[in-house]
Amino acid sequence: MMMTEQNTQIPSMSLSWTTLAVIVVIGIFSLFSLWMGFQALSSDRPEQSTYYLLTGTVGFAAIGYMFFRTKAVTTRKPDVPKVDVVTILECPACELKRVRDFKRGDYIHKDDEPCTRCEGNMVITGIHRRAEPEKKPKQ
């Protein structure tokens, strides 16, 4: 069976209208709750205010969680890692060493370009990822 885009089922990650409606309802409800929490607090009813404030806060926390989770998913583009690779060349005659970017066709022990110091040919002695610069410790 050929793999095509048609039979590849990937769900949509965007914020649906239902989710948006739920967020709005919870938002209004939480806003009311917070408002009444402060009202109760100013009216010397601390027990009631605790309930109201708690409900309002939980409501906003839920909205924040839903919103940021969705945003993180929709805006984040997964990337395929690519790294810098270098080729190390050495001249067996004069021991001159040179490092340059990797080129397709390079391989270890390949007789490569002529030496710039003597008349010999440089040999590829190593191919590896470019070392990442060390992060400075935060002071």
Binding site: M1, M2, M3, T8, Q9, I10, P11, M13, F32, S33, W35, M36, Q39, A40, S43, Q48, Y51, Y52, L54, T55, R69, V73, K77, P78, D79, V80, P81, K82, V83, V85, F102, R104, G105, D106, Y107, I108, H109, K110, G126, I127, H128, R129, A131
Partner: protein, 378 residues
């Protein structure tokens, strides 16, 4: 409008309002709902995480397929569009032989792998007729990585859709629990795309790299399929160096190579030791490129090559030493990191030390560098 809302709030929030009771009821209700639907909520949360991974895997898998097609077109210069052939390759499978009666299973596996190898090689030559031998091997490796990514994607999608359909927390848990490990493997495989496309040495190539440093400039003999050996004098001994034939991506047939060399030496019995060098998985906390020495056949894979080496060594009753170069799973098929490149020099010193300390002058020592020799000639 705001004034109206505030007035309503003030009325509702008054001393005689029942709104407080309503809110408390709703608050209690949410706990009751959670009591009954906790598992469903948990399932939804886990599904969400699987969904995010699925998206990431799809991007990587598509990239693997795109790069494979691009490389076949660029290097192989086929007359027709290779896309259907690449897609067919990505859906390829191998059925493992029955293991209920394990006697003879190694022979079956060996035959199966050989058929798969020869067929894939012929198919790559057909879809990329202009590719050199090394490039054809690199295409094979690249298609292998794309195949693995395709499989990961389909397996995760299967559990995701099944979980979504049934909302069964135990089905979702099966994939969710191993998700971090799968992500690590997928990221490792995705790093291989760049390496395989360009023919760069990879982390698994440390074994062949060590051996190639001793082998360079000496006469080479083909001892098995895509496997070469060289006889090199060292400190009064003779080192028989064996590795996969580079610089194309190949692991060769070290089992067949070792068996042939030891078999040829059956009468003279000059070979007194076997040393194997291979990449080994490091544990968390261990540094990359750490060298460890041990005993036994240092070789991974399905087990066929290891079996052949063990059988051949057992028949001669000679010691087998192992040198492991530690690396993370994310390094194995990714472009070689500097630490591993430097570690090959240390491993080379270990080989020399074992040879001088544990063998006598006049002895022959078989040194096998195990791994994928992509980007490493001899």
């Amino acid at each position: 409008m705001i004034n109206v809302i505030l007035q309503v709030a003030q009325v509702l929030g008054g001393d005689n309002s029942d709104i407080g009771m309503i809110l408390q009821t709703l608050f209690s209700l949410s706990f009751i709902i959670y009591l009954f639907y906790a598992q469903r909520i948990q399932a939804m949360t886990m599904l969400r995480q699987v969904e995010v991974t699925l998206r990431k895997v799809k991007t990587i898998k598509d990239e693997g397929r795109r790069v494979s097609i691009e490389m076949v077109k660029e290097v192989g210069k086929p007359e027709r569009d290779p896309t259907p052939d690449v897609d067919r390759f990505l859906e390829q499978f191998v059925i493992s032989p029955v293991s209920m009666d394990p006697a003879g299973i190694m022979g079956k596996l060996d035959q199966l792998i050989n058929v798969s190898d020869y067929t894939n090689e012929a198919e790559v030559k057909a879809i990329a007729p202009q590719a050199t031998e090394a490039e054809a091997h690199n295409i094979e490796n690249l298609l292998g990585a794309a195949h693995a990514l395709n499989y990961y994607y389909k397996a995760i999608r299967h559990f995701y859709l099944l979980g979504k359909k049934t909302m069964n927390v135990y089905i979702i848990m099966q994939i969710h629990m191993i998700l971090p490990l799968i992500i690590k493997e997928i990221e490792a495989t995705s790093s291989a795309i760049q390496a395989f496309r360009n023919g760069m040495p990879i982390g698994d190539g440390v074994g062949p790299l060590v051996v190639s440093k001793l082998m360079r400039g000496h006469e080479l003999i083909d001892v098995a399929r895509e496997t070469v050996a060289a006889w090199v004098p060292y400190e009064g001994r003779t080192l028989i160096l064996l590795k996969a034939k580079g610089p194309g991506g190949s692991v060769g047939k070290p089992g067949a190579g070792v068996a042939k060399i030891l078999g040829d030496d059956k009468k003279e019995k000059k070979i007194k030791a076997v040393i194997m060098i291979d990449a080994a998985g490091k544990l968390e906390g261990e540094p990359v490129g750490e060298i460890a020495e041990g005993f036994g056949a240092a070789i991974g894979g399905i087990g066929v090559e290891k079996y052949k080496i063990e059988e051949a060594v057992k028949a001669r009753d000679i010691p087998m030493y192992a040198i492991a170069i530690k690396q993370d799973i994310s390094h194995v098929i990714a472009p070689m990191v500097e630490e591993l490149h430097k570690a090959t020099d240390t491993a080379l010193e270990s080989v020399k030390r074992i040879v001088t300390e544990r063998t006598q002058e006049g002895d022959h020592v078989l040194v096998a560098g195990i791994g994928n020799t992509m980007g490493i000639a001899q």
